[in-house]
């Protein structure tokens, strides 16, 4: 019950704060430009308020149901760490370009997935497997995107 209250009420508060903060940014806009965003922000603020009121009413009536599955564990291992991998990859993209960054991401995610799914230590065998997978996928992407389709890929500042 506490989780439901926390999730929905925190979300409601965040929405209200977000709408107020974003609304202050519309002050400098011409009235015609500001009109639509303001309507949307009013909507977000009101939705946040209703979310809080609705949760409190449901809790009072004992009808609250938990539709959230966010836990500290899932936040760290399923969102924070993979998100960090991707943000590092983004940095690598700007420096080394697409294929090197893709190679890095495939390797890291392969090891992480193997570790998380099977709860085992990464051995030399896994390393070799990851290396082969990374080389193969990167090579396939190079063949498709660069050789066959001739599409531009991020080149990175290092190679410019």
């Amino acid at each position: 019950m506490v989780i439901i209250i926390l999730t929905n009420i925190i979300m409601g508060v965040v929405l209200i704060l977000f709408s107020i903060l974003a609304y202050t940014q519309t002050g400098d806009m011409p009235s015609q430009s500001a009109m639509f965003p303001r309507i949307v922000l009013y909507g977000i603020g009101i939705t946040g308020l209703l979310m809080i009121v609705d949760t409190l009413i449901k809790v009072k009536r004992g009808k609250a149901t938990n539709d959230s599955s966010l836990t500290l564990n899932s936040f760290i291992f399923q969102i924070l760490i993979p998100g960090a991998f991707l943000l590092i990859t983004y940095q690598l993209l700007t420096i080394f370009g697409f294929y090197i960054s893709a190679f890095f991401l495939i390797m890291v995610v392969f090891f992480y997935q193997t570790y998380r799914a099977n709860n085992i230590k990464i051995t030399g065998k896994h390393f070799l497997k990851g290396l082969i997978v990374a080389v193969l996928i990167t090579a396939i992407m190079y063949i498709i995107f660069t050789l066959l389709l001739g599409l531009p890929v991020p080149s990175g500042s290092f190679f410019r």
Binding site: F75, I79, Y90, F110
Partner: protein
């Protein structure tokens, strides 16, 4: 070029190959748990840049059609519905698998999908051109109400009403970022030059659908494929039985088609309504959830019927009815094609090739599905260790490729993180995409209405409701809202 010539063009070997490739990819991504047709389309989007627009569009249409069917494979063989849409297939198909009738269940699934898909595409072909022609008469007020209908309905669906409403509004907010095209002023750019051109739909879709989905797949074990001794059954036996149950097929396809036509409502409602209706009228009601083929027929025919009909509002009105059609809209915009009523006037080659080509996607799906059944279990053996990194790097490339912008990659990553959190706290992601796509349509038409109202010295409501068509559309929005709320209550 006349319609018959366009139809003949779709029968050329190169087009047929593309259609078959699209459907095959769709079935594969649909069958792999954790992936779906929308992800498949997002990932293959860059490939269409090198193709003619109509061919690229058919590739994506093929993935859409194949993906709808593919989801039932894992549901039937593993009891793992890749999507909620495939849940009825799991409820009826998996018990059959355990009884050694997996092949039979898969045949029922593919041929029901074929009949449903066929009916949906016929509706697409028959309804889209006249609707587009009629929609040419629409002014800004009418287009505003049309776009609004998509938002109103999608806001009324999903789990928590407030979370759905927030998702729609969040999508609309994203659409306001960048330089305002009407007054030319910057909005919410925080001084960033990259944000001036706004946030396009492709990085949003890739972030919310591909990256967020992959985040949540991390740590999941690959599925254990259990082999059951399977009884032999002929394809014709199943087809004859489905034909015998033609009213069930027609009713389910009708439900799927009607719900597919409503912008934003989605396939889930169609599938569960058809399944529920089949159960309600069945003489073998007690066999449901124990392996009743009627349940598979109802769910699968409704499922694929939505594919064709969900394209009607996209092609005729420029209003995408689902995230998948929103991505297809994005693909067309990249090719410089403006969706909506003028599509049939300005690019009839693209519009009609797609309409006729979609019929061929149904045929391709039936052939691949019927012939490939024995190979489907191999798809299920693909491990998450390979899927997750592959999808991630393809998604990053897809985000970059639209505008050759590294900033779009960053946007996709940020939205991937946000999307994963939203999924965990049960905020639906599909309305965000619809909001992003419909936002500019709503705002532009609202602004145009205001300008016209001012020029005519009328108040805005007076101008917007000054003709019967606009009033009719407003009433339709209200009626749709009530109907969807009622349907939601019934489905729950």
């Amino acid at each position: 070029m006349d319609a018959f010539q366009i139809f003949l063009n779709t029968l050329s070997p190169s087009v047929l190959i593309i259609i078959f490739i699209g459907v095959l990819i769709g079935i594969i991504v649909g069958a792999i748990p954790g992936l779906n047709g929308a992800i498949g389309i997002s990932l293959l989007l860059p490939m269409t840049f090198a193709l003619e627009p109509q061919i690229g569009l058919l590739l994506l249409g093929g993935i859409y059609m194949g993906g709808m069917y593919g989801g039932s494979i894992t549901a039937i063989l593993l009891n793992v519905p890749g999507d909620v849409v495939a849940a009825p297939a799991a409820m009826e198909g998996y018990p059959l698998t355990k009884q050694g009738r997996a092949k039979e269940a898969l045949y029922y699934s593919i041929f029901s999908s074929m009949f449903g898909g066929f009916i949906g595409v016929i509706i697409l072909i028959l309804f889209t051109p006249p609707l587009a022609s009629f929609a040419l008469k629409f002014g800004p007020a009418e287009m505003f109400f049309i776009a609004l209908s998509g938002l109103v309905i999608i806001g009324a669906l999903g789990g928590n009403l407030y979370k759905s409403a927030f998702a729609v509004l969040f999508g609309l907010f994203i659409s306001t970022i960048g330089v305002d095209l009407i007054a030319g002023s910057e909005r919410f750019t925080m001084g960033s030059a990259d944000l001036r051109s706004g946030i396009s739909v492709v990085p949003v879709v890739l972030g919310l659908f591909c990256l967020a989905e992959m985040f949540l797949n991390i740590g999941k074990k690959s599925n254990e494929v259990t082999t059951y001794k399977d009884q032999s059954i002929k394809r014709m036996t199943v087809i004859k039985d489905i034909v015998r149950q033609k009213f069930l097929v027609l009713k389910s396809s009708f439900i799927g088609t009607c719900i597919g036509l409503l912008p934003g409502v989605g396939t889930t409602l169609a599938v569960f309504m058809s399944y529920g209706e089949a159960k309600r009228v069945s003489k073998k009601r007690d066999q449901f959830e124990k392996g009743n083929t009627e349940g598979i027929i109802a769910a699968e025919s409704a499922n694929n019927a939505t594919v064709g009909s969900s394209m009607v509002p996209l092609l005729a009105l420029g209003v995408p009815g689902s995230p998948t059609t929103a991505i297809i809209a994005g693909a067309l915009i990249i090719h410089g094609i403006i969706l909506g009523p003028s599509l049939f006037v300005q690019r009839p080659d693209v519009a009609y090739t797609f309409l006729y080509g979609m019929l061929l996607t149904v045929v391709a799906m039936a052939i691949i599905g019927a012939v490939g059944i024995k190979y489907f279990s191999y798809i299920l053996k693909v491990k998450m260790e390979y899927i997750v990194p592959t999808v991630l790097v393809f998604a990053l490339f897809g985000a970059y490729s639209l505008r050759n912008s590294i900033f779009d990659v960053f946007i996709a990553i940020v939205l991937g993180i946000v999307g994963a959190i939203f999924k965990k706290i049960a905020v639906p992601l599909a309305p965000i995409i619809i909001g992003v796509v419909l936002g500019p349509l709503i705002e532009t038409n609202l602004a145009r209405s205001m300008v016209i109202a001012e020029a005519r010295q009328l108040s805005l409501p007076h101008y917007m409701l000054s003709n019967p068509l606009a009033i009719f559309l407003l009433v339709m929005v209200a009626v749709l809202f009530v109907v969807v709320i009622k349907m939601r209550t019934k489905t729950e």
